[in-house]
Symmetry: C2
Subunit: 139 residues, 2 copies
């Protein structure tokens, strides 16, 4: 079995981290399937996620581990971790409460590009919580 | 309105490309919502996707534009493009035929990490087409 076959057709989890030591992780709602957010993990974040059962990411802007919900209380309990063909991307199926995006929406993907435009966004969701209330300790 | 507010709360599409000039794109099945694959776009790939209505990515390994389906025939007709809060990630809701992953599955995410393990993957899908048949021109 070639390395490529082992990665693509094998049963061994061999996550591939990029040049910055990160792997992309897509969090989806375990119940509805909705894509909630896309974030990144380093090896330590992935290990913590597997070990604790709660999603931990690596914040590229803050350069540190970030247990989702540590400030907002909106934790992600991981039910399943899926990996893609070349093992450089993960899906986390997570159990969540209302409001996963720091802007106040359930999903970070609350806007859609309007048909026929390459500039104009349309809002497709309502806020599910007040982020100022949630994050007021930080404001 | 601050730049952050403009990006997060505004109606202008201002996609943010990373240091390599790429933005992450998650393709989901427009009918079922299933996550099919995660790939990357540069500005040109995104423009082509918007203009043609068919998903075009930038292949990081081959360092070139890649219209999904150009070899396999498994094109992705884009129904909607969503953008996340900080505008550095897209979801493409796409209409597809059977078999989006080059390994032969409908989704690239055909394996799940077994409960209690950090090493063992379990297959959760059946192949929907024979990639050797599809890609035989290239083999």
């Amino acid at each position: 079995m070639s390395t490529k076959q082992k990665i693509e057709e094998g049963s061994e989890f061999i996550p591939k981290f990029d040049a910055n030591g990160l792997i992309t992780a897509v969090a989806t709602d375990a119940v509805t399937g909705q894509v909630l957010m896309v974030a990144y993990m380093n090896r330590e974040a992935l290990d913590l996620t597997i070990r604790t059962g709660y999603a931990t990411y690596f914040s590229r802007s803050r350069r540190k581990l970030w247990k989702k919900g540590e400030e907002s209380g909106h934790f992600q309990r991981v039910e399943q971790i899926l990996v893609d063909c070349d093992q450089d991307c993960l899906i986390l199926k997570v159990a969540v409460d209302a409001g996963q995006c720091h802007v106040g929406y359930q999903s970070c993907f609350y806007r859609v590009l309007e048909k026929g435009s390459d500039k104009k966004l349309k809002f497709i969701a309502e806020k599910t919580y007040d982020p100022e209330e949630t994050y007021k300790k930080q404001i």
